[in-house]
Symmetry: C2
Subunit: 471 residues, 2 copies
């Protein structure tokens, strides 16, 4: 509970109805999309402007009250769980698209804009904002920026970090800074723009975002290939790249995932497919068609048992359903679904998928793997039950080994979900002790009193996949 | 002069012949490509490995001796001038291309690799490293990374920062860190990779760089358009983008530049052309041809007095000579050439070019403007004489006004050359006091004793375009 004075002051800034601290409101903001993590905040504020954000941060820094910025709450690393209590700062009211600038190919938006709404708005003008995280219908751009969100188009188009070119952000003391701008080139001092991308709400609260846009691709073609085994799929990916083709998406489902998806979505996947590749190419019609035919031919040569090339964009969208529904399908099987997020160099995908299967078998847990084969970002997804302490312990051990293996293969512990609380204990494996020390120095430079999203990114008292407070 | 003990210790690390401190060696490393700036170092070391770099940094931090990392010395912001003395750390011996990984589309190189050599090596394999700073035949990749170098292909392909995905760097205390990897997606902690890009040798010494590669475009088409006035050129740029065409390069020369280039290179530019646009498109042959024809048609509609579309890549390369020789041509006219580097939103290019002309006229100085119209990055280039103190004073005043105007137009004080010493007094106009304070905190986190490239980026005792020590 806040002291009544602070409560009054914050409510005065945002207006009474935008400050919440009833028990059911606090519960609603005690968790995000990450299973097994929960902690109660002391209050929730919903500011409507950078001025309000600045006023709240000033107050909270004075009183040393933790502030946890939050958008749609679709985070998968417990990044918005208020583990140290304090104030959850919900930015979803700041959801205006301020400008779409066709001459400069930029959009300037508030952090609470839902990602898919930005897609729709720019696409209506023939423009394109490529990052498409799986959560895009609920996640906000502010959250995407804070997490450095990826998506299905990472291989060809990169991720959120490749599109953010300007930010307004409020520092913990309430000062506002502006970084970058509508500028394709800017090297005036350290690149604070890209440093804030992926900083997980621990350095500043982002209040305005300028992204660069591309022309909307003229057309899109889709193909689906089924393989008897993983190796054929892996060789196909390798040969597609070797043919100097960069598909817009190049998605992978393993056999357990394909089976579950078919049961759920009835898209016509044979349940004995060892591996499924879903591939899209976009661009001028002749180029997209040429590439998708070349891709299909490679898959056939590498032993695909079935290759379907969609004749229309609608048919293509239907094929993509298989991939887009993977998480929903998997999450029906067991009470708890833990979606993980390792990335390896593309050439190590088959090795990583095999390692996940072997590790899951060894620990007697069920892990399905799907993900972005094109950019090496895989989502080993564990279907488990949070109420079974013994099984959860084995799940933890399995994921420990998966992260070790990813790093051994030249990969990373998180490709697009962020460190948050879930990966904090593992960060040192990727960043090293000296790297973490530098990051902690950066944290102090922005947030000397450590009020912004404490308990995230850095390994602290919390260890491994611990249930902080189970609702 | 170093004390003899330190001198011996550094020489023991690199081997005697790779430590230099004769007067003529010190003079050779007292300046870079920036006119008017010079300062003598106390010694020059040429390490051959990250181990040697670490050993030297450890020694220098203990003794609080400044270390200035340096590649080809083509810096244009006095970024490698050893203004506080100390050691110049020349990384050109570390010039091995360690790996070109076709499966993962990456190259891993030492910092001393000359940019054009990397281009040649990857292009021989059908791959493409897009960043092409004007200095690419002398500049090193390490320098490109330290400066966040741009180039002619920024509009379509981005700059160095968009290609660096992994680094090894040595911190001032001698610890080595690794960031990123052969990974298209990695959000494990703060993005130290992009923070080091553009950090101008002030945070760490980069000892290995992994860049992502693209497939080499299949073909390239070039067009040249001459306009009676600036407005027609500006409208053409606007309409090309509005037609959702993103050319690979979209370069601009103003009338004074075109006149001088013609005198020098005899490429057939009429000396009365008010503005010249040079445009390239790459991609599959049909697409490149379609786009270049559309571009040519737009230029004609907007009143171009002459539009030439090259029929072959060789003809295209000849057209590009006009742009590539601009700096060389201009530098013949007067003893001192000051190449500046502002960027504005693309829609403000005409306003910026007009402002430069008006400001130059008002101060009675000669400034030619050329640059990257596609990405808004302009190089107002002053032809002057460093020996004429009165004229240099007027040049300084003119550039002051140019930087003010760029920032007013939503632009920045440096698009691709870096802050160094030249722009340090102006950084606050772009970054703000709070932004600079955060940057200084970052500097302290990496380099608590401020031994790495002191006197750069941050406004300090030095003011404006001061000749530190004239050789």
């Amino acid at each position: 509970m806040f002291d009544p004075q602070l409560r009054r002051e914050i409510a005065a800034i945002v207006g009474g109805r935008w400050f919440l601290d009833s028990p059911h409101d606090l519960v609603a903001y005690s968790y995000d999309a990450t299973p097994l993590y929960q902690a109660m905040p002391d209050g929730v504020a919903m500011p409507d402007s950078a001025e309000q954000v600045a006023g709240i941060l000033r107050l909270c820094q004075e009183r040393r009250v933790p502030v946890v910025p939050r958008g749609g709450g679709s985070n998968l690393s417990a990044g918005t769980v208020p583990v140290a209590g304090g104030l959850v700062l919900v930015l979803t009211r700041m959801n205006r698209i301020r400008e779409i600038d066709s001459a400069n190919l930029t959009a300037t938006v508030e952090p609470g804009v839902v990602t898919a709404d930005l897609h729709a708005a720019v696409e209506a003008l023939g423009l394109f904002y490529p990052p498409d995280p799986g959560s895009m219908r609920v996640s906000t751009i502010g959250g995407n920026v804070a997490e450095g969100a990826g998506g299905l188009r990472g291989l060809k188009y990169g991720t959120t970090r490749d599109y953010v070119i300007g930010l307004e952000a409020v520092l913990p003391g309430g000062e506002r800074i502006r970084t970058g701008g509508k500028l394709m080139k800017d090297v005036a001092g350290y690149d604070l723009t890209r440093l804030l991308v992926g900083s997980e709400g621990t350095l500043a609260v982002i209040t305005e975002i300028t992204v660069k846009l591309l022309p909307l691709p003229e057309s899109k073609r889709t193909a689906l290939a089924l393989f008897a085994d993983l190796e054929g799929a892996a060789r196909s990916v390798e040969r597609i790249i070797a043919a100097r083709i960069i598909p817009a998406t190049l998605e992978f489902l393993d056999n357990p995932t394909a089976r579950v998806v078919e049961e759920y979505a009835r898209v016509g996947l044979p349940t004995d497919a060892g591996a499924v590749l879903l591939m899209e190419q976009d661009g001028p019609p002749a180029v997209a068609a040429r590439d998708i035919e070349a891709i299909a031919a490679i898959c056939r040569e590498e032993g695909a048992t079935q290759v379907s090339v969609a004749r229309t964009e609608e048919e293509g969208a239907a094929l993509l359903t298989a991939r887009r529904s993977a998480l929903a399908a998997l999450s029906r099987l067991r009470p708890t679904t833990i979606l993980e997020d390792v990335t390896v160099p593309r050439s190590q995908i088959a090795a990583m998928v095999r390692a996940v299967a072997a590790i899951a078998a060894r620990h007697g847990v069920m892990i399905c793997t799907f993900g972005h084969a094109g950019d090496g970002n895989l989502h080993p997804t564990c279907l488990t039950d949070a109420r079974d302490a013994d099984e959860i312990h084995r799940v933890e051990q399995a994921f420990d080994e998966i992260f070790v293996r990813a790093v051994e293969l030249g990969g990373t512990i998180t490709g697009e979900h962020g460190v948050g609380m879930v990966k904090a204990p593992y960060l040192e494996w990727k960043a090293g002790a000296a790297g973490i020390e530098v990051m902690q120095g950066i944290k102090r430079a922005f947030d000397p009193h450590s009020i912004l999203n404490p308990g995230k990114i850095f390994p602290g008292e919390g260890r491994k996949r611990v249930v902080v407070q189970h609702g």
